[in-house]
Amino acid sequence: MRHTLFLALLWVALLPTVLPAQSEVAAEPIVGLRENPVAGFAFVNAEVVVAPGQMITDATVLVEGTSITAVGQQLAIPEGYQEIDCEGKRIYPGLIDAWSEIDVTVNESPPGYWNGNVTPQMRAVSSIARVPDAAKLRSQGITARLVAPKGGIVKGSSCLMLTGEESAGRSLLLEDAWQHLQLTVPRGGSRAKYPNSPMGAVALLRQSFYDAAWYEDAWNAYTATPELDRPDKNVALQALSEAIKTGTFLIDAPNERMAIRADDLAREFSLQTILRGSGREYRQLDEIVATNRPLLVPVDFPDTPDVKTADAARDVTLQELMHWELAPENPGRLVRAGVKICLTTDGLDDVGQFLKQVRVAVERGLDEDEALAAVTVVPAELLGVESEVGRIEPGMVANLTITDGNLFAETTKVAECWVAGKRFVIDGNPQTEFPELAGNWEFAVRHPSVRNMRLLLELEGSDGKLNGAVRSGESAPKPVKAKQRKKEKNKQKDIDKVAASKLRDVVQQRDRFTANFDLREIDERLPDGISQLTIITMQSDDEDATLVASLKLPGGETQNLLMVRSDDDQESDQAVVSTTKVGKQDQSEESSLATADPQGAVIDTDQPPETYSEVRFPFGAFGASSRIAGQTTVLFRNATVWTCDEAGKLENADVLIRDGLIAKIGSDIKPPADCQVIDASGKHITPGLIDCHSHMGTDGGVNESGQAVTSEVRIGDFIDNSDIQIYRQLAGGLTTSNILHGSANPIGGQNQVIKLRWSETMDGLKMKEAPQGIKFALGENVKRNQSRYPNTRMGVEQIIRDQLLAAREYQAKWRRWKNGQHDTLPPRVDLQLQALSEVQNGTRWIHCHSYRQDEIMATLDVLDEFGIQIGTLQHILEGYKVADRMAQHGAMGSSFSDWWAYKFEVFDAIPYNGALMHDRGVVVSFNSDDRELARHLNTEAAKATKYGGVPEIEALKFVTLNPAKQLRIDEYVGSLRVGKHADIVVWSGRPLSTLTRCEQTWIDGRRYFDLEGDKELQSRDRKVRARLVQKALNSKRGAKKKTPEEISEEDRWVRHDVHCAAHGSHEYDYTENLQK
């Protein structure tokens, strides 16, 4: 496509140029005299990159006013045009930075959404007149920049601005470019209000999308039937519903998981979506590619981790080290995988570092044309302004970036930036060309006493900043080159010893050089006093300029001088110099320093190619090199097999697994072909353990505590497949875990049952067979908030009852509507009540945090009223007091084995609880609710034997079959039975023994943990760590940023229930301390 475009473009270029007449571009009246300079420019002799991958050499670009009028070779230059010689220069389309954000002031007046985080009506264009940091952006060749509103969850719309210095009207390229969303809570805001967790943010987004759709339907219905109630006006819903229909959404993705979640949300609501990436996309490349979404990609590659001391090095994670090494490859990897990307200044402390960072990405594998596309045509196209910016083509806005070479080469400098036909010379210095005067010049001064005396003018320094001396030229000194400055300085001392006069009052201007010195200091026969030297450089069309010099002696006499360069390499006797641009030398040196490889590694082509870390699943230590796959057939032989089923405990038994399922259990099973045989003599085999209450593996905040009822939030939106606790718990024999919302509110969020398939995707962790659930909570935690209902157990009972009633009525309303009774406005989708309707319908199970017997009784009574059977009572520490009532309802209990006394409502908690409930026929499980205890569930189960004498076979079921029953997944897991999932743990001894350790953990017939494999991972990680620490130590860029790193998105959220005081009893939490 690009190719045909190029041909068309050439065609246009070769036509005789048609000049547009000058137009009025503003309605504003002119005060005073009109000014009408000819605003035509001809850039000649340039290499013009008209679009990525398309360069015309010896080309001319014509610009008239704000627009490009012609591009091509041998164009006729219209009269009056200013010619700009671009010999040796390259002209690129002006770059586009598709990201920046500003605070947008809230307009209080129009009626908006009930939640202040949803402000689609907010417009960046209303709060910005000029792009901040414009000069710096132009120094990077950036001529247009997106400006987005900051804050909120539906943040509002961005606009595209030119980076010139014109009025807002002229600078505004596009208003309402994209609608901006984020899946988390804005930083720095209050954590008291809803939503205060990422889960809540996503739920709010969903609800507001439904509300926007409803708003439109409601108004349509009202317009059609004005007799109906008139819906409230709402500018937010109006704006959102328009954006859904025609707009493009940009969703922040502050880590790789957020990118995938953003895509999920976009799919759910069929949103045209672009993702704002984090630079970590390479970690889950396949999934990111599969989203098929364009990505804004930052180039704020990480600084060298602090490994200066052994202690500091120990605290640096392999994730940090590997990211430091691999992050610069992110843009290249994305592009090679076919992702459409824009490179942006997002995250850069200094936007002046943009090109430098882009070049790092290019060096690390990003194709140059793709890099250019990522800052020109791609953003232009995504913003829908591809006919205005992004290429050099007649009719486009005259945004040009002029460089002295390849934009992606290390030392290339942006010389000029043209924004809508306005010229900006980079670095703020006037575009002055100085004659290159540095070096030695011979001339003769005439004076009666000496007749002709040869003198030597020695100039050092770079152009514009020259200095030096005049000395006797009778004994010609060795010539000094400008480059040999250091030596020269030493020589200066020698010169001082010989008769010489230092130059003073040196002034160099574009066309003249003047300096003063004292002839008497050189030779006592020469006149005393200050002589004034003037050298005038005569510029011509030729490459070289001619010098015309004169000396005004102290007596007032002026002599013309013939200046002859006396440098060795100067063959010409003529006093000529070539012109150079000011500061070129300095700048190129500066930029070569600045573009040093961020790792500080010296790029030496003779060296063998550097090794880089492999991407792991998940990223960092203990990650698998590839997804753990393969459905092997495995036979475990001669083990003591605890089936947790009717078969009981089998000695010397075999277990055959095939296709991820248990194929056979018995003795002397013949191994089928291609079967891996594992000798498990002396070992014990149990079903994979199941934790019915956990908060690990989620980075969505655990609690959405902003409201008393949050049934709309979902843990499942925020599964963190990189959580190291998954691996650690696998090593404790855990295979399935119920990730629950916390206990902050009477009706909390929806839980997610996961299998601990380490290395899998977020979605791959979810146990698809598990039915949906929801967390309820009673007692101290939920009544604690004095500023909202409820404050007592009385209120807790009422709010649950009221919500269930509301859900019932909600369903009735919808039933009515769906039956065609449209005599009202259409009903609104209410995600909160929808979840509760599912509870009512038996498709969503309640897992209710509960302690005291009174609240247990009250809740069961309410549920009985609605005919709802409870999924589980969680904690249920006084379950032993009402086990008969539980049994009557059919309530199962998932308890701690022996926690108590961490708060008042658990002062009657006893370790016999499990046994007492079990003895009354209640299905009992022991859970962890703790990342450490989840690694010891087998011995937690043994406490049922210790306290109350539950037989060992039944006790083991407390952490296998019983939690499976409670989660309604016992059809698939929880016992070793033919046809169930091959979730298997091999133990070194009796599974209930404290002296036993887990040796292998299998899920779906795949080995996810074993002692040997763990050792291999550790030795692999040690090697990688050692290499990376060395690399970091050798890195030239060792210093960390002065400003502390912003805490990363996933580390903003705890991984336990802060409302559970059991954890509050710790003065500190070791792992939390490390999470900066």
Partner: protein, 450 residues
């Protein structure tokens, strides 16, 4: 059945001991929650017969007997001759251990963690060398009988807080008042070295913070020394200072300083500081101790490992780092005990009864079984400075013993009798009481339904 059900089921198999059993029952508790009665002083010699005796400071004595009298162990052996009027207890198939020692806890100082009014563990400010844990120990705490029923007979109770936390005490878990419970008070001074390591900041900040905190400590110790000199030289004109006064024994090296430190730099800094100041240092925490084992060994600094149910401190560390720490320290020749509250042992003082399982995890991950036992008995006693009294079954030591129906490191094992200084102690607890109460509820309702 009140109070005695928990001992009915075990060891009195021989009819000739029935009378003894009844007597013991009377000696033991006769009540419900907060009604456990302290044991009466030992009035008659007791012989425990035919048990597997884990003496700790030597090889086990199989089918052995232990005789104790007036609170002290008199003899260990096989087929011991019993003195007249001795109570004989047949413990065939049972295991006898010294009482377990929890080397670092706030047991007695807190009742319900979340109810501030019931918690007395952290004094105001960050310089509390004079705060004395034992004066605030509540002998009627419901948590104490629960710990005791798990076999924990002796604990070191320590205050918490920032930096200089206060003085610790070793107490036995039985007595009408703390006076009878005290075994050693003060047992040492407790300082949080971790306060010098602000988490996650740059190494330079950490150095600065550490220097600042060390300087504060220097000042404090210097003040103590000068105070001591001045008080000795001119007591009448030197006003008293309870903070400084309290630190004199530590400065003189008579009592250890317990230093909470997990990271290598903290541990090294504490050891070096102790050496420079002539303090006798004990490390509590010790997560990174293996990395400075040579130093710890050379200066004979012991470590109280802060529990084994503990997550790795750093993401990249092996999943079992905390589980293998005891074995790694043993292999490196560092003296250690296991105790205290870790991140993964919710409840802390409330679940001090789980102490043997912390040792068991270490055994599962490599520590020899006998060393696991030692880590929660004799090693703890040695480190706390009470090895002359408790920690092993040795002649002359206190008869602080537990009798268990199995390997004490195994979860299913229950303690069936315990003696502190020869006193048979009540193994009842709030938990057992409530258990009995609700068993009663259900047995009644069963009768009704029949």
């Amino acid at each position: 059945m009140r109070g005695c059900t928990h001992i009915e089921t075990f060891f009195f198999t021989k009819s000739r001991l029935l009378a003894v059993a009844c007597m013991l029952v009377l000696m033991l508790a006769d009540g419900y929650a907060h009604d456990q009665v302290p044991g009466a002083p030992q009035s008659r010699p007791i012989v425990i017969r035919n048990a597997t005796i884990h003496v700790i400071d030597g090889p086990n004595v199989e089918q052995g007997d232990v005789l104790f009298e007036r609170g002290k162990i008199k003899a260990i052996g096989q087929a011991l001759e019993a003195p007249k009027k001795a109570i004989e207890i047949d413990a065939t198939g049972k295991h006898l251990y010294p009482g377990l020692i929890e080397a670092m806890t706030d047991l007695g100082l807190r009742e319900i963690s979340a109810v501030e009014e019931t918690v007395d563990r952290t004094e105001y400010g960050d310089r509390n060398p004079n705060a004395r844990s034992w004066v605030a120990v509540n002998p009627d705490s419901e948590l104490i009988p629960v710990a005791r029923a798990g076999g924990v007979l002796t604990v070191m109770t320590a205050p918490r807080g920032r930096f200089v936390r206060g003085q610790t005490a070793v107490i036995n878990l039985d007595g009408w008042t703390v006076r009878e419970m005290k075994l050693k008070a003060p047992a040492g001074l407790y300082i949080d070295w971790g306060a010098m390591h602000p988490g996650g900041s740059a190494s330079q900040d950490q150095r600065k913070r550490r220097e600042q905190k060390l300087a504060e400590l220097d000042d404090l110790l210097d003040s103590v020394r000068r105070y001591q000199q001045a008080r000795e030289a001119r007591p009448e004109v030197t006003p008293t200072d309870v903070r400084l006064e309290s630190m004199v024994p530590m400065v003189e090296g008579d009592l250890p300083v317990f230093v909470e430190a997990d990271r290598q730099t903290e541990i090294e800094s504490a050891v070096a500081y102790g050496q420079a100041q002539g303090l006798s240092i004990v490390i509590y925490g010790g997560y990174d101790a293996e990395h400075c084992a040579a130093l710890l060994k050379r200066y004979d600094v012991p470590v109280i490992i802060a529990s084994t149910y503990r997550l790795p401190l750093r993401r990249d560390e092996s999943y079992d780092t905390a589980y293998t720490l005891p074995e790694r320290l043993r292999a490196a020749g560092v003296k250690f005990a296991i105790g205290g509250e870790g991140a993964g042992s919710p409840g802390g003082a409330a679940n001090a009864r789980n102490l043997p399982y912390h040792a068991a995890v270490a055994v599962a991950y490599g520590l020899p079984h006998a060393e696991g036992l030692r880590a929660v008995t004799l090693s703890a006693a040695e480190i706390l400075g009470v090895a002359d009294r408790v920690g092993s079954i040795s002649v002359g030591k206190d008869a602080s013993l537990i009798l268990a129906d199995g390997d004490i490191l195994e979860t299913e094992t229950n303690v069936i009798a315990a003696f502190i200084q020869g006193r048979a102690v009540d193994l009842g607890s709030r938990h057992k009481t409530l258990y009995e109460k609700y068993k009663l509820k259900y047995s009644r309702s069963e009768k009704q339904t029949r």
